[in-house]
Structure formats: C-alpha cells, structure tokens
Amino acid sequence: MKERKTFSLDDNVARYLEQPHINGSGLVNELVKRYMRDEMEL
C-alpha cells in the first residue's frame, strides 16, 4: 500500500524529481529503505 505525501522542495530539487527519466517516488522509497537498513546516513 502507498501513501501520497505532499511537501515543498527547493526549486532545483523539484526540477530534478520532475525529469521524465526520474521516478521520484521510486527514488525516495529506495533512499528511505537504505536509510532504514543503515546503509546510508542523512
């Protein structure tokens, strides 16, 4: 199940996510999972 989250981003970040070849949701979920597994730090 997915939950839609809306938030504000700096323009350059929003532009990055809006690129057609970037799956914004997929990227964020992947980053969260790596963070949860302690594979990366904020």
Partner: protein, 144 residues
Amino acid sequence: MSKVTSVNLDEESVNYFKRENINISAWIREMMQRRVNGGAEIDMREFRIGELEREKQRLLDEIDAIDKELERLESEIEHEQKLQEKSESFDDLIEETAKEFITYGSARKLRSSSAFKRKAEDIDMSPFELADQVMRYRDEVLEL
C-alpha cells in the same frame, strides 16, 4: 523559493518515519537536496540501472504477451482456413445433410432413420454411403 511536490511512499517507509518520529517532509527535503548536490552516499547510477532493468523486464514481458496473442490469432485463422478447405471438399448436400441430422450420434442411427433413408434416396445415394460421408464431414469439419 520552494515548489510543492508529492511522492507515493511505501507503507513500510511511512511507518518507519512515524515510529522513529522523523519529519518526513524535512527528511526528504534534506535527502533530495544532498542527492541533487551530489553529496549523498549512494550512487544514482546504481538506482537508475535497477530502474532500467525493471523497465526492460516489463517491456520484455509485454513483447512476450504480444507474441503469444499473435501466435494464438494466427493459429485460429489457420485452423479456420483448414476447416474451410475441408468443408469445400465436401458436396453441399453432405454439408446440408450433416447439419440436418446433427442429433443422430452414429452412422448406425443415421441409417436406421426413415427420414435419412428418404434423403439418401432423394440424392441418389445408398444410406451406407451417405452416412459414411456425413460422419466424415462431422469428424473433419464440425470436429464432433
């Protein structure tokens, strides 16, 4: 200046943020800012490779489904053409008789029918010969 954006988060991710009492928006803003600025620890190319591999598999599955449907439709057409050719190899009277006596389950039952015998006489054939051809028509064209 900031822009409003939305993403679909997995339930697991949302629950994690809630459990750890982390502000999701702030976390994503910070993480993405670092990603865009090239400061995050993971290689974006690795993520992109995974994404492309999944997309490639999806397209291959789609091609496979298209191939199967093409094969099915071509096979249906070929089968119908074969039946048509077989049907044309029989006299129209045989086709007509086969359909008229469709409920008679065997050559013996056909031959024992008075109506069938009359039909055979009308078209100048013996009941044996007519029943034999009707059964062949059923078998080859009607596939009964």
